[in-house]
């Protein structure tokens, strides 16, 4: 996975709509426009000039069922005033946003476009929560899996029960992730669910699918996000138009992986090793089974290799990862090599993935080594599926620009001297996963 013949791609600007339970005040197109307007205003780029400079777009949204509207992508392209420029829709379950981001990267890296807009959204409030769960569960095999009791929280619950069995992971360790992400979100005005919780609050909230409670699980959301990507030429053209210098944040690595749709079909073999690991680390571990995400490991390996990363805890300043469940955040620590397989539970409770300088009401041994989901992640921000992976890209961009205080009207979540960050987007029960590395150039 070398970058042969590819051009550097810069993340120039981004915007996110406030994520909420329901946005009946707008149809989906103007919600996306809110995110774009913010990105352009932040850049200082006049809206008419922006529409001249943008060469094309990628539309990122998951489900046609939520709106009962096919071809919704073109309706946004049209509303934003981007016709007749090229565009296409990307869909890959929960990883839709991450895939969309990488498609935008490809459009620029390949030389096809100098400026590419990636926009994403989901408006999930158009059906009731339980019908929404049914639509999401249709992203499982409708012949063999869905009819047995199609419910994603049930699938993730089975995966973490096996993780607990293999490695001794505990529900209290999972609750640490919930407390961390909900507390972080208190400082993020874009987040939907901003709560100060205790471990006990998490465990005593209603059980959804054993051992996952309401506070272990992300919520459905209405929201949009967009990221503006550019080549060196595109960036210079934007700077000429705005008369401002844009901080150089470049995408240094991308990776993707896949796994079997039915988790019952996943093999039990040897661990795929990251650059900083050895086979002897995992003697006797049958992998991935249903306790780990092989797709996440593959995506990580490719992205780290492309970006030239060694130990990610040393080489990354922060990670925004797909915590649809507290359990999957712990599983993803391992897939991304932040700790070894099996150590995710104690790693979660150690405090290393918490933000430094924030009081979580917990006794943590070591706080803030490698902040994970400083934004609050999906669990607290919400998960408007097609927007989620792009929301991560925007929050990562603001971290690397050092502009979190300006955007969040609160400096608490700014990772000090953030130089390199990873974003991770994840679909199904781990069927498509993307990892992208963003880096600030000095």
């Amino acid at each position: 996975m070398a970058l042969r013949g590819m051009r550097p791609v810069y993340v120039v600007s981004g915007g996110v709509s406030k994520f909420v339970k329901a946005r009946p005040d707008r149809t989906f197109q103007p919600i996306v426009k809110e995110a774009l307007d913010y990105a352009l205003e932040d850049l200082g780029l006049e809206p008419g000039r922006a529409r001249e400079l943008i060469d094309g777009s990628v539309a990122s949204y998951f489900s046609d069922h939520f709106m009962r509207q096919l071809m919704a992508g073109i309706m946004v392209q049209d509303y934003l005033g981007l016709c007749p420029k090229p565009s296409h829709r990307v869909e890959g379950g929960g990883a839709t946003g991450g895939l969309g981001f990488q498609e935008g990267w490809k459009s620029v890296a390949s030389g096809l476009m100098d400026v590419c807009l990636v926009f994403g959204w989901e408006t999930m409030s158009h059906v009731q929560t339980w019908k929404g769960n049914e639509f999401i569960a249709l992203a499982s095999d409708v012949s063999f899996d869905y009819p047995v009791g199609g419910f994603y929280s049930g699938y993730y619950a089975m995966m973490v029960v096996r993780h607990m069995h293999e490695f001794g992971t505990t529900v209290e360790q999972m609750a640490h992730v919930s407390v961390k992400n909900h507390t972080n979100a208190l400082h993020n005005p874009y987040a939907q669910k901003r709560l100060k919780l205790t471990l006990r609050d998490v465990r005593e909230s209603p059980m959804v699918a054993y051992p996952l409670t309401r506070h272990d699980i992300c919520v459905m959301s209405d929201g949009a996000a967009c990221a503006l990507l550019a080549s060196e030429e595109g960036l210079l053209a934007i700077e000429k138009a705005t008369g401002r210098t844009v901080p150089r944040v470049v995408v240094t690595g991308i990776g993707r992986g896949t796994d079997a749709m039915r988790m019952s079909d996943r093999p039990q073999r040897d661990v795929i090793l990251l650059p900083h690991e050895k086979a002897s680390d995992y003697k006797g571990l049958r992998y991935p089974g249903v306790h780990s995400f092989r797709a996440g490991r593959m995506a990580t390996k490719q992205a780290y290799q492309m970006a030239g990363l060694g130990d990610p805890v040393k080489d990354l300043s922060f990670v925004e990862l797909h915590d649809a469940y507290t359990s999957s955040e712990i599983q993803t620590y391992e897939d991304m090599g932040l700790c070894r397989y099996g150590e995710g539970g104690p790693f979660a409770a150690s405090g290393k993935t918490f933000m430094p300088g924030i009081d979580y009401g917990l006794k943590l041994q070591k706080q803030g080594t490698i902040p994970v989901n400083p934004s609050g992640g999906l669990i607290a921000c919400g998960h408007p599926v097609g927007a989620t992976g792009l929301m991560q890209a925007v929050f990562a961009l603001w971290q690397l620009q050092g502009t979190i205080a300006r955007h969040f009207k609160d400096p608490a979540l700014q990772v000090k001297s953030a130089r390199r960050g990873a974003i991770h987007s994840h679909a199904g029960t781990g069927t498509y996963v993307t990892v992208s590395i963003l880096e600030r150039q000095s």
Binding site: R68, M158, Y210, D265, V290
Partner: protein
């Protein structure tokens, strides 16, 4: 800008009287008024168009119901097996890899696989109890889901576990397959119970 808007504004409709009824069976020029599909009969409307952006959104209910004609295709023998009290998987003749949930092509080597009968007893590989669910299954909550592992079989099988409380289920618990008498041609035509149950 303001001038262009004025130019584009359509001419005010003239209050022309309805055309007189024509003889010779001409098409009616008015859609008949019925109550069918009506949900609300008056909505407020402001005096000034400037106030329209502050209007409360109109939210309506759109029903959607559809019957799919779904074929199980090459997997059909699995469902025929369940209807006859037989649990079928597949095995790769080339590498011997055995699938509990049937696949007619081997994931490893791509070879066509053969149908084989699975054991009716296995163990709980992992489990959960769902207290909430998708709308289609809400009335069945709480229910137990398990992944079953079978001796000599490489992959797992998703099923319901009945006859046991959620807090009694353990990884490794021995379970036995049972079949519904009146097959529904769904994977739930087979379900599992703890092996020691009568």
């Amino acid at each position: 800008m303001a001038r262009r808007q004025r130019r584009n504004r359509p001419a005010a409709p003239s209050r022309r009287p309805d055309p007189p009824e024509q003889g010779g069976g001409a098409a009616p020029s008015r859609i008949p008024e019925t109550l069918e599909g009506s949900v609300v009969f008056r909505v407020p409307f402001p005096e000034s168009l400037d106030d329209l952006k502050g209007m409360t959104p109109i939210v309506v209910k759109w029903p959607y119901q559809i019957d799919y004609i779904h074929s199980f295709g090459q997997d059909s023998p699995f469902f025929a097996g369940l209807a006859n009290g037989r649990l079928l998987g597949t095995r790769c003749p080339s590498c011997d890899y055995t699938y509990a949930t049937p696949r007619l092509a081997c994931m490893d080597c791509g070879a066509p696989t053969d149908w084989v009968e699975l054991p009716k007893v296995g163990r709980v590989h992992t489990f959960t109890t769902c207290y909430f669910g998708s709308e289609a299954f809400l009335s069945e909550c709480p229910f137990n889901l398990i992944l079953v592992e079978f001796d000599g079989v490489d992959t797992l099988f998703l099923a319901r576990l009945v006859g046991v409380a959620g807090n009694e289920i353990r990884v490794g618990m021995a379970v036995q397959a049972r079949f519904v008498r009146n097959a529904k041609f769904k994977p739930t035509d087979v379900y599992f119970v703890p092996r020691d149950r009568p």
